[in-house]
Amino acid sequence: MNVVVTVKQIPDPAEPGALDPDNTLKRDGKLILDEADSYGVEVGLQLVDKAGSGEVTLVSVAPNGEVSGLRTALAMGAAKAILVSDEAIAGSSSLSTAKILAAAIKRVEGADLVLTAVEASDGYTGTVAAQLAELLGLPSVTFAKHIEVDGSTVKVQRQTEGGYDEVEVALPALVSVTAGVVEPRYPSFKGIMAAKSKPVDQLTVADLGLDAGQVGWAGAGQQITGATPAEERAAGEKIVDEGDAHEKIVAFLDQLKVI
């Protein structure tokens, strides 16, 4: 079973985010593997393991040749990676990003399953999975909270507004996974050492046969016109519980007439 997992390398979410003057996300610090993608990597590794053959291939897009996040996923056990890195990519819309990912995934031979996160932790457009499936001509099941493969059928529990649906689809297919679908493993020391020599195929947009006008700001079809600080919500009273804090809460609720 061959699985392709899309992974994004993002600025550490623990650091406060910032925008560059052109309103793209500031990405000049160290980039890490988006935690949202670690679940797809883990699912892929487990499915390959269970099938007894095949491998996990990572596909990533980054404007500056960044590989540190990819190395983390390779250290978890992925076999190899394709990194599309090109300055022309900066400012890409979700559709342009999906076009780049789709062109890269088409280079992976014999892919049975494509896994993505539901949404990235930095941009969270949450639409790349569906766009990618459409570009690849694949059926898709998004928002998977549980996934298993039975022969050539994928069985997914898909989160819905009110609960979940059991969904079945034949391979090849694309599935987007939620956080919590599995517990991602920590890379072992052996894995980290092995990852250093695993192949990362670095490509440009031109290598993929895409026109530079289709990606980045040029191909975005959208333009950021402003970025302003949101109205701040002021913090109110903060007290340390001395055993009677519940009385404060009751008084607060009373005053709001909800009790």
């Binding site: 406060p16 766009q131 694949l138 969904v167 919500r233 809460i249």
Partner: protein, 323 residues
Amino acid sequence: MALSRIWVHAEALEGKVATITLELLAKARELGDTVEAFYGGADADAIAATLGAHGASKVFATGDLAGALQGPPVASALAAKIEGGDAPDLILFGTTPDGRDIAGRLSVKLDRSLLTNNTDIALDGDNIVVTAPIFGGTTMVQTTFTGPGPHLVLARPKSFVAEETGGGAAAVEALAVPDLGSTGGATVTNRHIEEATGPKLDEAAVVVSGGRGLGEAGNYQLIEDLAKLLKAAPGASRAIVDAGWVPYSYQVGQTGKVVKPTVYIAAGISGATQHLVGMKGSKNIIAINKDEEAPIFGVADLGIVGDVHKVLPKLIEALKARG
């Protein structure tokens, strides 16, 4: 200026139109002259009255999808209609699982970019300008489309206020689904509803949410007990949903539900940006957390630095004593 024609993705559960759909219809009426809905499913007749009462003159309906997920059939049907020359200026979706599936596939079929996660949609002359929160809602970004329409916009729930106009039932028109080729085939074999009994999370006047600070799954009972006393809906942070303590339908936040109740009580929740995005719009926020540096205190009107295992039982007793 107004747009001449806007389509709205209608979602419904068991014959009841989703609140997000009614919110989108209200916004669409403000922005456009003609507002029409589209629906992937068999029971369009059952929801036509509600859609009409909220301003939709028509509803284009695919009919029974035989269990297929909405993305491929609805996107294909809309693309065929648009390519046939019957196109709106703007198509609105909720930032929901099915909304994202349809919008994503449609954006490829039409080769149009889309804009998601918006909390406002406005017109600047002929341009559609949308606003989306980034960095956990600390910065608002305005974006406009540069290419030709129809434009695809997804809005977050609770961004607009649903309002009835008193219109008659929307006229149901058939929306033909073309052959889906290799993209069809994902089929729902079983549905499970896991919503808590009592008030709905996104409609309740009071919401009581629990997080990792509760320590273990069994302690979520404290949240349920408190919620019952306050006639509140119980909610949760992503951490305890991922840990399997409560179902996803309880989740408040970016990837869960957006809530704006009169009172939001966060117990044992640190306040990751993920969570703040979903509850910051609450009118009053009470936070209980043992870490006085927890970000949740930055948005709390009443912050209690304390142990939820001590504060919650006393609060429950005090409320019971009041009868």
